[in-house]
């Protein structure tokens, strides 16, 4: 266990070494949120609320969705793909740890770094600039934290899956790009799921993506009733378990594939 915790620490320190980069990152996110702020203001016009969300809730939704993204987002799919292409993965597999577990921990180290140096200052900046409603209810924060942890796990699991694909395709950069686009849309980062037409909502209900962004953001903006909230957390939990299965299966097949290639 201690080696996994060491991995979190190492990655955190590595990110710290490049922290200057993250000041520009905060600006990027703020600008992005700003663009959506103006766009949504124009969309709302003089409407009081759309699909149960007021303009203030919508602004908060956009802000928290992007700030949460800083925590759950990572590039481990690209890292895995690179290591497979370079053949480095052969050495990694000899080491006394679970390769995918180690990558997950690296992602977590990155996430924790971004959370403290990026999301929190970013959120403060955004709150000063736009009308963002911060909940003052301890329970909301608690549920949000649990939900955010699930969203990290689900997103990481999907990244592991796309990363492992590099064992089977010569080049999976296109796949990784397509995955990112799909996650941005279906997770509710760009648009709350409740804004979609009903048939699309029905389809998305059977996909793991809304556990990544929609659920934590709705919890933060108090857009869920209590029973909806518990259902949503349960749904996230179930996806975390279900996604373990394809990862394990692909990983077993992938390791065999690697031997054929000769490493």
């Amino acid at each position: 266990m201690s080696k996994y915790i060491e991995m979190i620490r190492m990655r955190f320190l590595m990110m710290l070494a490049y922290r200057l980069n993250y000041y520009t990152g905060i600006v990027i996110y703020t600008i992005n949120i700003g663009a959506y702020y103006f766009l949504w203001s124009a969309i709302y016009g003089d409407k009081g609320s759309i699909e149960g969300l007021t303009i203030e809730q919508m602004t908060s939704y956009v802000a928290i969705a992007w700030m949460a993204r800083a925590f759950y987002f990572n590039n481990i799919d690209r890292e895995i793909a690179m290591e497979i292409k370079d053949g480095k993965v052969a050495i990694e597999l000899l080491r006394p740890y679970h390769y995918l577990g180690m990558k997950t921990m690296a992602g977590l180290g990155e996430g924790i770094f971004r959370f403290f140096f990026f999301s929190i200052p970013g959120m403060i900046l955004v709150t000063l600039l736009f009308q963002v409603h911060i909940p003052y209810n301890g329970a909301t924060w608690g549920y949000f934290a649990i939900s955010l942890l699930f969203s990290f796990i689900i997103n990481t699991q999907i990244n592991l899956l796309t990363g492992i694909m590099a064992f089977f395709f010569y080049n999976n950069t296109g796949l990784i790009r397509a995955k990112r686009v799909i996650v941005d849309l279906f997770s509710g980062l760009l648009l709350p799921i409740s804004f979609f037409p009903l048939w699309a909502q029905d389809v998305m209900r059977y996909l793991p993506f809304q556990g990544i962004s929609y659920i934590p953001s709705m919890i933060f903006t108090n857009g869920f009733s209590h029973s909806e909230l518990l259902m949503a957390l349960g749904q996230q939990c179930i996806w975390v378990i279900i996604l373990l299965i394809p990862i394990q299966l692909l990983w077993i097949v992938a390791k065999k594939q690697l031997i054929i290639q000769g490493g």
Binding site: Y18, V27, I28, I43, Y170, N171, G174, L191, F196
Partner: protein
């Protein structure tokens, strides 16, 4: 002439390498298509809840998006320089470029081009014709000429911003992440600029001229007369900004001292 010859040689080399890995080529086009589809879905879903965006209707917004895709495709096919700093300055590739007898920027551009992005032209035209038909827009004989001028002007305006940022690398060789930021700001130009506040509008017009990539030129074809002046400025702005950016690049080259290994 010399430059055109070199350009086509690079294109043919490019096609050879790309067709070697055909599946990759197709996946890349598909992921671009996905991206465009997501942006369209966004517009469609939004207009499921509202009739107008500051007086612009759904098909007008779709038309602007379709137009935006065309200069954007030209830009991303030829100015794929978002990792210039990392690739050419930090890793010292620039030294190799400077030993060649052609202009350094031209060399970088043809080395890094990504012709599959041109597929965006096809989606752009499909979207424009779809939205145009819905709006009942009429074509005159000079519209295609203006269209080409506006599209090239928009692509040059877009490119100039990225050339300037790439040039910053000549003065400071540390890694920066301004490039992705610019891609996000570029998206501002896809929506009617009158929804933003005055400061952003001014920025998008005269500092980072992204409004000339989407909304301004598209306004002409939509018959929005109040924006005509800006529409017709598109090629001018494109040329002026591009010239200035190349001048900044040339200044940067003089400053460049190599990665020092």
């Amino acid at each position: 002439m010399f430059y055109i010859g070199i350009f086509f040689q690079y294109v043919s080399q490019y096609m050879k390498t790309r067709l070697e890995y055909r599946s990759d080529f197709i996946v890349e086009i598909l992921s671009d298509l996905f991206n465009q589809a997501v942006n369209l879905v966004f517009i469609l879903v939004v207009f499921g809840h509202t009739q107008f965006l500051n007086g612009w209707n759904r098909d007008e917004i779709i038309f602007i998006y379709g137009f935006f895709l065309i200069p954007y495709a030209l830009f991303s096919a030829f100015f794929n320089i978002w990792d210039f700093n990392d690739r050419y300055i930090v890793k010292g590739e620039m030294d190799r470029i400077l030993t060649r007898p052609i202009h350094s920027l031209f060399q970088v551009v043809i080395e890094r081009m990504e012709l599959e992005s041109l597929f965006g032209l096809v989606t752009g035209f499909i979207i424009i014709f779809y939205a145009g038909a819905n709006l009942g827009l009429e074509l005159t004989w000079y519209d295609p000429i203006l269209f080409v001028l506006f599209a090239i002007g928009g692509a040059l305006a877009y490119a100039s911003v990225f050339i300037v940022i790439a040039s910053v690398g000549f003065w400071s060789d540390s890694k920066t992440s301004i490039m992705p930021m610019m891609y996000n700001i570029g998206n501002y130009g896809r929506y009617p600029v009158d929804i933003y506040n005055k400061v952003i509008r001014f920025m998008l017009t005269w500092v980072l001229p992204f409004a000339f990539v989407g909304v301004y030129p598209a306004s002409y074809f939509l018959g929005k007369e109040e924006w005509y002046i800006f529409s017709f400025l598109t090629p001018v702005v494109g040329l002026v900004f591009f010239t200035v950016s190349v001048m900044i690049w040339n200044q940067g080259i003089k400053k460049y001292r190599g990665a020092g290994n």
